[in-house]
Amino acid sequence: MNYRLNVFKKASLCRNFELSTSDHINSGKIYVPTYVSTGQEFISSSLSIISKTKKIKPLLFGQHRCHSIYLSFGGKIDYLIDELLGRDTGINKGFSGSASVGNSKINMYGHDGLMGSNGPIGVGACFASKKPTIIFLGDAAVEEDYVLGAMGWASKKKLPLIFVIEDNNFSIATEKAVRRNWEIKDIAKSFKIKAFDIKDCPLEIKYKSKYFFKQPILLNIFTNRINEHRGGESLKKNKYDRYLIEMKKIGKKATIIDQKFKKLIEKLWQKRLEKR
């Protein structure tokens, strides 16, 4: 239960952050293109708790939908707020906006905007350092040819890394079935990489953690992006909300945590917005 609760705490931080972010996109305070991870929080939250338990500080290579990675792994909240507000006091001085957040303190390398580039870059960094590494890719980014090339090489070199595919079924608004007739799990297996299709349930992720950071492994994690690709609007055809499911399972404690983070985040945003 401790694990589940700890993951929920991280997820709650991310969820409440993203809800506020959406509000500020809609109010026009955030003018940079912004990609919220509402609905997908449990992937990075689970991985951060698992890494912590293993006493591992992995190298992190995310892509544009990266707020949850940054927050789950300990990035400072007000720096991210300032970054989204386009300020010089932001985590990357206004360079990275929402999509390219990087922070060496938490071993998080920013993204350059070319989908999938973090695949080979993460593989190279893992090879050169031999440090545990997590590469986060969307179900679309993983289609990039250079991701597949790098995956093959990572397998050959038996690198201690995890390819995490955040499979929300969408490339912008185009569904997977329109784009391909293969599954990444099968491709990874053909590269001799251990690969699994799992849901974004914290326990399912934990079950696979015995394989982490030994040899390359790929987790294709089904998840539900609640928001539009970009911006603050919610999608109409929501399937499920992992946050509500977990809340229900955990019970009252979760409601208290949720309220706590809601207040904290709102206060932080308020404080940053007042500071002009």
């Binding site: 990275s96 990087g102 070319l114 870059i121 593989v123 190279g124 050169a128 040819d145």
Partner: protein
């Protein structure tokens, strides 16, 4: 006997690996002669890393390595940069500026020429030239190579070396030849520098004074004061030679020289057409005859 450029490169790589400054990455490195004898015969355990054929991914893998160590990346033909450059240019070259994380890479990019077709022929430094965050040099001599490597070690930049296989046997240093009352000054890059000396000697016999400025630093374009003086005082236009298509580096550098001197600088590089494999369809760096004709056009004789 003085060391050739080939031997200098090989020594540089060996010492880089021995000191564990970073690994050396590339394709087919185990076939030592494939890289024109510039790679020491070592193994993966020594840090010589053979990558797969996935060129675009490989560029990215080396960028990842650059976040951790100081890698050397060998690109066998400069034209392969069309596939290797994207992640280097868009990530490594920006990493320091955006994320305050340096990503140094020493890119050995090899120019070739002579019946080897449209991709593997000539130099392609212009692919990189227009983007910020990259440093470009074109070493043609042992000392220049050492200078380039020294710069790489002392700094945290992505350094693109526009090499040329036809210079690998060279052991002589190439010095500027700046005449007082020159008729024409030639600014030469890469392999064209060797032609420039032949041209100078040819015109000397005809009592026409040609000066030579050797361009080593392409980006930033390091212009020597004496070059500008010579160009300003020259009787006719300047001429800039390159081993790449002229719509890129050559015209940009010529523009800089013109801006600083108000003197016209013409450019000569590859012709604006595809290269083929046959001699009749090849597209080579400006040869003696093309340069000679251009100089005649300049001096209107």
């Amino acid at each position: 006997m003085a060391k050739t450029l080939r031997e200098t490169i090989k020594e540089t790589l060996r010492s880089h690996l021995k000191k564990k400054i970073g690994k050396v990455y590339g394709q087919c490195l185990n076939a030592v002669d494939w890289i024109e004898g510039t790679v020491p015969s070592l193994k993966e355990k020594d840090g010589l890393i053979d990558l797969s054929m996935a060129d675009v991914a490989n560029g990215g893998i080396v960028v990842g390595a650059g976040l951790i160590e100081k890698p050397i990346y060998i690109i066998r033909f400069q034209g392969l940069n069309w596939f290797n450059a994207p992640i280097i240019i868009n990530y490594a070259c920006k990493s320091k500026e955006i994320w305050n994380i340096p990503c140094p890479i020493f890119i050995r990019s090899i120019g070739m020429e002579g019946s080897i077709g449209p991709v593997t022929g000539s130099s392609h430094h212009s692919i990189y030239f227009r983007m910020p965050g990259i440093k470009i040099v074109s070493p043609m001599t042992p000392n220049e190579y050492r200078k380039a490597y020294d710069y790489f070690i002392k700094n945290e930049d992505v350094l693109y070396l526009s090499e040329h296989s036809k210079s690998y046997n060279n052991s002589k240093e190439l010095t500027d030849k700046l005449e007082k009352n020159t008729d024409v000054i030639i600014f030469a890059i890469s392999i064209t520098r060797f032609q420039a000396y032949k041209i100078k000697n040819y015109f000397k016999k005809l009592d026409i004074k040609i000066s030579i400025a050797n361009i080593f630093w392409i980006k930033p374009f390091k212009i020597k004061r004496k070059w500008l003086e010579t160009l300003k005082n020259s009787k006719f236009d300047g001429l800039l030679l390159d081993d790449d298509y002229v719509d890129g580096t050559a015209k940009a550098l010529a523009y800089e020289l013109t801006k600083k001197t108000k003197k016209n600088v013409r450019v000569l590089g590859l012709e604006d057409r595809s290269a083929g494999f046959s001699r009749s369809k090849d597209n080579l760096s400006p040869n003696f005859e093309r340069i000679r004709k251009e100089v005649y056009k300049i001096i209107k004789k």
